[in-house]
């Protein structure tokens, strides 16, 4: 299999975005706990976000280690995990309102 070479700068950028994605996953993991007992529909949404994040983070990390896809494609997918998924996941036009679903219902 052809092995790609990744520059140090782009590798750092990749892992920075990956960590942001991980933080998003943890945040929505918290939302799952907060909504699981009294808001089942929202809990399903939050679980879907966690699964999507988990899948993207696992796949991108695996491809990075195997070096089997070019860096631009890898960066695109990790950016989807870091900013694309949370952008959709918070939903609505009024983000704080959406965020408070997890916090308020949990509290």
């Amino acid at each position: 299999m052809f092995e790609n070479t990744y520059s140090t700068g782009l590798s750092i950028l990749f892992w920075l975005l990956w960590v942001v994605g991980l933080l998003v996953l943890l945040l929505f993991g918290f939302f799952v706990l907060a909504t699981s007992t009294n808001a089942n529909v929202l809990a399903v949404w939050n679980v879907s976000v966690v699964l999507a994040e988990g899948f993207l983070l696992f796949k991108t990390a695996r491809h990075f280690v195997l070096k089997d896809i070019p860096m631009p494609k890898l960066l695109l997918w990790v950016a989807v995990a870091a900013i694309g998924v949370p952008f959709v996941a918070f939903g609505g036009c009024f983000i704080l309102e959406s965020m408070s679903y997890g916090l308020r219902i949990g509290g």
């Binding site: 529909v41 070019p70 695109l76 952008f87 918070f90 609505g92």
Partner: protein, 236 residues
């Protein structure tokens, strides 16, 4: 919650229509983007522009209107994406329009997404001002308001229908000018609907989004004129 579901529905339908359009008319990549790595970098910067612009202008408008928190705006997102796309194209040496590739998906995304805004009601802060017109909608505060979300949704749907009917006959024209026509229509209709929204004015009588619309209308007009000029020069 309903907005979340419609956001997802809008995204899925936008992607599906976009994929269908590209497959139907053999658009592998945006016009002028020749290499695969360039394509990925282009999509990457567009994603950053879209999310950055959406968050920046959505939140800014919220604060200018005396609300707290953070917000998203599709108009801000399109504005941000155009800005980064033009910078990217300049440095990548791409001189033609690349945007038609994204237009059908964007039109569906806005048309469906706005239904979510409409159904979300007052909490979404995208409703219109009070009206006596028979189609005014009470979102729960006892006032009949302009359903501006639906006005935008219908406008985008009408644009999409025109594009899908006209594209097979005028593919070359749409390829060259389609994105700028989309920007003209999108910014134009949004500029009008903004007069029916309760947002604070920034530069009387315009609110922040109307100023963005004016920039976008100017951008589209200049680009279309440039295209026409180049076309005239080539045909001489």
């Amino acid at each position: 919650m309903i907005h979340l579901i419609f956001d997802l529905f809008a995204l899925v339908s936008g992607v599906l229509v976009s994929l269908w359009f590209r497959r139907q008319y053999g658009l592998e990549r945006p016009a002028g983007v020749t290499q695969e790595s360039q394509h990925h970098y282009y999509l990457l910067v567009l994603l950053f522009g879209l999310v950055g612009g959406s968050m920046l202008f959505g939140t800014l408008n919220l604060h200018l209107s005396g609300q707290t928190g953070a917000a998203k705006s599709m108009l801000g997102g399109v504005f941000g994406a155009i800005l980064v796309a033009e910078v990217f194209k300049y440095f990548a040496g791409i001189r033609q329009s690349t945007g038609l590739y994204f237009v059908p998906g964007l039109a569906v995304l806005i048309a469906v997404g706005r239904i979510g805004c409409f159904l979300a009601g007052l909490s979404d802060y995208t409703y219109g001002i009070e009206t006596r017109l028979p189609w005014g909608v009470d979102f729960g505060d006892g006032l009949k308001r302009h359903p501006v979300q639906l006005y935008e949704s219908f406008a985008m749907l009408a644009f999409l229908i025109v594009l899908l009917i006209s594209y097979p006959k005028h593919a070359v024209l749409w390829q060259a000018q389609g994105f700028y026509v989309f920007v003209l229509v999108y910014a134009g209709q949004r500029f009008v609907w903004e007069f029916l929204k309760p947002y604070s004015t920034v530069f009387y009588p315009f609110n922040l989004f109307q100023l963005l619309c004016l920039f976008m209308l100017g951008y589209a007009a200049v680009m279309l004129l440039k295209m026409r000029k180049n076309h005239g020069r080539l045909s001489q």
